[in-house]
Symmetry: C2
Subunit: 241 residues, 2 copies
Amino acid sequence: MAYELYYWDGIQGRGEFVRLALEEAGADYIDITRQPGRGTGAMFDIMKSDSEPHIPFAPPFLKDGDLIVPHVANILFYLGPKLGLAPQDEGLRHVVNGLQLTVTDFVAEVHDTHHPIDMSLYYEDQKPEAKARSAAFIRDRIPKFLGYFERVLRQNPKGPNHLVGDALTYVDLSLFQVIEGLSYAFPRAMTNRKAEYPALLALHDALAKRPNIARYLASPRRLAFNEEGIFRHYPELDSAG
Amino acid sequence: MAYELYYWDGIQGRGEFVRLALEEAGADYIDITRQPGRGTGAMFDIMKSDSEPHIPFAPPFLKDGDLIVPHVANILFYLGPKLGLAPQDEGLRHVVNGLQLTVTDFVAEVHDTHHPIDMSLYYEDQKPEAKARSAAFIRDRIPKFLGYFERVLRQNPKGPNHLVGDALTYVDLSLFQVIEGLSYAFPRAMTNRKAEYPALLALHDALAKRPNIARYLASPRRLAFNEEGIFRHYPELDSAG
């Protein structure tokens, strides 16, 4: 039975971290809300159900038969072994999950660059605060997070081609997406910084060339970044840093 | 061999979610940085190591022999089965993990009520923005998150005494801590709201009476809440909502 992915229909957003793993593995999945004639109704039906025993707080969530698995890191932890994108060793699976949760935190901070005060308001209603938060993000947080992942690659005893062990795992794919997203949202900051993270950039470039990823990126299933998603390009928030 | 917990030495913070699980289970653990003569040096030695293969991004992290497991939800996912605080069923473990990750998101939003712009600055340097963010948090986010967890309890097919299944899991203990923390940080908001979440409050009160938890809360191992932690009481940020 195909996996069912539930997420907003018009953005990459957090759903994209799950899509990249499913696409790399060539897994059979349905991106439910993007099916012709569907939309987000089916997603809200589950979230608002008053009978479903395990309701998710927010999208994305995965449905595998009757089981509903919410949260990106949880979905990937669940799918990783099934898709051949997790280590065999149980302890190393928790190492991968720990890295994925650092990605989760970083992505939440990316979101807050354009929504630092109130996520129920528009970006346009919190622009001065967004500018202040983005300046701190570019100055402190991008170097802190990317510097950390660069160290993880360099200190991997199996070599710098993967974050954990000597084979591809789902967190490698998530780092690919982080680099993609930051390069879209903060091109000036990233242009000035990229040389500091050679192992991360090499990982990104290698993954872009993997056949299933290259095919996905060129397909209509890969939505373009836009200003409804997590990674948004507002030139006034970007700076050389 | 005892589990080693690494976290800041003067606050409950995120480490408290791990401590509550270890204490409930009566597990053998060492709160490393709080040992006489230790402090946070041992924690930073691991984080800054240039030879450790799996460096954590931030505390808390758990050391179990050679394995380092970072992030609260990851530590609890790892410990849950070993401590008898996770369901037997593999799918339900991912349900518990999904709920724990919703707690993670909520706790990050609590942090941002006093640090909405720049976490490298003091609260005092971002007070107007903190007031705006706290107002939105009290108005929108507390009801959204607590309302969700209340629904999860009510829709549990096994009854409203636990979030998942018919036995205690670590995420029940984390919800206890969330209620404790919110009641400390936002007493006015919570006083006005508590009646809306009877199942959550009943869970909180029942857990406070469990022998190991009651003993822990009365011990010097339970630090008091303070204004260095995640849950901070700044009267000017609290309101009846």
